[in-house]
């Protein structure tokens, strides 16, 4: 039996039920990780590869290279000025037939390594598990993706289930997401092979290992995808636009939290300027979650790349760190049965942050663990 806990959350942090859209940025900044494929001042179209691994989310002109922040690391980025015409060479992409070969083709062509790893060389799964859970507090991406696109997503789950001859198909939703549960129940009726599975709002259920344990199917052959992965796959297969992503901007230092569909590789500060009203003078901006994320060092130059899922803008809090009282709470809570106080087996650490979350001395154990690693 796994023992998971619910995190203490501030019930005053509410999110706008409607998705906001940031689809017309003046510039996008493509991190240069691989060979650049275009010249200065060359025109690019939407979803055209501008480096060997990344495509432009807009059409426009490559105007130069600038150093920006990608996940707190200085990174040279290709700057593309938007012409606001959304020109695309792939204009007439048609819905692709869902076959194993087609899926592999698409994933290879689009460098979708994560999905590729899960699907490669498989032609049968016992269970398909689609998770619409976000573990991190005040992050709502997955549930909003489901809400936004429920019909297509259910149809893809259905097709995957036929393709992989799965016995069970689970769609996992937290039981406190009342709105979406109703939507799901209405739409899922036509897919009797998909089970809507409600789980408690417990931390770590977004992680494959823990949800499989919870469902007691850990030893079976499972295909686990989160709604975001499925949405990406769905967009490729249905020939839809993949140049945008969903991020949540939430926190107690802003007037209203929002889930925003934005072009990829835009500047965070541009989104904040347009949508977010900061109400506190002293605040921290954190990317990718309050439990496992990091504080942003340079908000003005921070780029929303594909790996950024959330931004939390929180009132500045200072915790007075005191000497360890050896209470053992950090050991007791660790879901991987590690001992954050010594250096053994720390390579198994999943960076969940629970050890720091429970420490009464406010010791940043997660940081120590990472350093030890």
């Amino acid at each position: 039996m796994i023992k998971l806990i619910s995190l203490k959350k501030d019930s005053n942090i509410k999110v706008d039920p409607q998705i906001s859209y940031f689809l017309n940025p003046d510039f996008v900044y493509i991190p240069i990780n691989a060979k650049i494929l275009i010249q200065q001042n060359e025109k690019v179209t939407k979803e055209e590869f501008v480096t060997a691994d990344l495509a432009s989310p807009i059409s426009g002109t490559a105007i130069g290279i600038k150093t920006m922040q990608e996940e707190n690391i200085n990174k040279k980025c290709l700057v593309i000025a938007n012409d606001f015409r959304e020109l695309s060479k792939n204009k007439k992409v048609k819905k692709r037939k869902i076959t194993l070969n087609n899926i592999m083709d698409i994933l290879i062509k689009n460098n979708e390594e994560k999905l590729l790893k899960k699907l490669q060389n498989q032609n049968k799964f016992d269970n398909i598990i689609i998770s619409a859970i976000n573990d991190e507090p005040y992050i709502f991406n997955n549930i909003y993706i489901l809400k936004e696109n429920i019909a297509d997503l259910l149809s893809i789950i259905d097709e995957l289930s036929m393709l992989y001859k799965s016995n069970n198909n689970y769609l996992i939703v937290k039981n406190n997401e009342a709105n979406i549960i109703n939507d799901c129940l209405n739409s899922i009726g036509t897919y009797p092979n998909i089970k809507l599975t409600l789980v408690n709002d417990e931390y770590l259920l977004e992680k494959e290992e823990f949800i499989l344990k919870k469902l007691q199917i850990i030893n079976e052959k499972n295909l686990y995808l989160d709604v975001n992965d499925l949405d990406t796959l769905c967009n490729y297969l249905l020939g839809k636009d993949n140049s945008t992503k969903l991020i949540t901007i939430s926190g107690d230092a802003i007037l209203e939290s929002k889930v925003i569909r934005t072009k990829k590789n835009v500047l965070l500060s541009d989104i904040i300027k347009k949508y977010i009203k900061i109400i506190d003078a002293k605040y921290d901006v954190i990317f990718n979650g309050l439990m496992s994320g990091c504080i942003i060092k340079d908000v003005d130059n921070f780029v929303i790349t594909n790996n950024i899922n959330s931004i939390n803008i929180m009132k500045k809090k200072t915790f007075k760190v005191v000497d360890c009282i050896n209470c053992g709470k950090c050991i007791e809570i660790c879901p991987k049965n590690l001992n954050p106080l010594n250096k053994h087996n720390l390579e198994k650490c999943i960076n969940c942050g629970l050890c720091s979350y429970v420490c009464p001395c406010y010791i940043n154990l997660k940081k120590e663990v990472k350093i030890n690693e």
Binding site: K8, P137, C294, K320, I325, N326, K329, Y357
Partner: protein
């Protein structure tokens, strides 16, 4: 910076307060047994009736003074727990001046001793004070009534606190209630308390030929509940806590039976706490 921004709101201050709440019924019972009852029978004066409270007040004042000298804050460590636990285990007829001086000295010692030395500070302070008291007069845990042996008590009376013991550490029934209260609140090493109690009870029953009176008539049970699971000086891992508790229980039984009835438990706790680093090392890879 890689930091967790969310916290479950547990802090040392909250842990200390919850701990002190647990001590309250014991203090009140101590006041009843060694204050009200003795005053009723004209065995102590009105002023002396409140001895247990004087001890607590002296302890807290001395902590504030030493904290001031050593630039420490009251809720940044567990020292308030220490100074509020120590008086409970003092002999009922303790001389307040001797208590104050010896506590003050022991607080200075624990502040200057290197942090690296692992020992149970509560047990150390209690032993230190008892040794100093013993220099002035032979150590006795009898109160004025017990010295005169004027009460006829049955087993139920004894288990409800009328047994011989510290000024507020004689009520085993209350102690067990407090144990369960602590076990349900977060930061109490209940594994050590339960395993040491289990080992102690078994060893005492075996040594004393199933005589339950021997088991309850010492400071041991309350000390195993209140002092043994001291968070700082004990191991933190489940397996090491079980081993630690079992060894401690056995040692307490042996020392209480063969060395010193009243202070055996404190010696056992102090000895065991010295072994914690070795135990932690041995069980590191488990």
């Amino acid at each position: 910076m890689n930091r967790v921004y969310l916290h479950n709101n547990e802090s040392i201050k909250k842990i200390v307060i919850k701990y002190l709440i647990g001590l309250l019924p014991l203090v009140l019972y101590g006041f009843y047994k060694n204050g009200i009852l003795l005053y009723r029978d004209d065995l102590v004066s009105f002023v002396d009736m409140f001895n247990v409270f004087y001890l607590l007040i002296i302890s807290i004042l001395l902590l504030l003074i030493t904290n001031f000298f050593f630039k420490k804050k009251i809720f940044e460590n567990m020292s308030l727990v220490l100074v509020c636990t120590v008086p409970l285990f003092m002999p009922p007829s303790i001389n307040l001046l001797v208590y104050a001086i010896s506590l003050f000295l022991s607080l200075i010692i624990i502040n200057v001793l290197p942090k690296k030395i692992n020992y149970n500070k509560i047990a150390f302070v209690i032993l230190f004070i008892l040794i100093i008291i013993n220099m002035f007069e032979p150590l006795s845990y009898l109160n004025s009534a017990e010295k005169l042996n004027i009460y006829a008590l049955n087993f139920f009376d004894l288990i409800c606190g009328r047994t011989i013991g510290g000024i507020a550490s004689s009520n085993i029934l209350l102690g067990i209630i407090v144990l369960f209260y602590y076990a349900f609140f977060n930061n109490y090493k209940k594994v050590i308390a339960f395993s040491s109690l289990l080992a102690f009870v078994i060893i005492m029953i075996l040594i004393n030929n199933f005589d339950i009176n021997e088991l309850i008539a010492s400071n041991a049970i309350l000390a195993l509940i209140l002092i043994a699971p001291d968070t700082i000086s004990t191991p933190a891992k489940f397996q090491s806590m079980v081993i630690y508790g079992l060894i401690l229980g056995i040692l307490t039984g042996l020392l209480t039976s063969f060395i010193s009835f009243n202070i055996g438990v404190f010696i056992a706790i102090l000895i065991c706490s010295f072994t914690t680093p070795i135990l932690v090392k041995l069980t590191e890879k488990w």
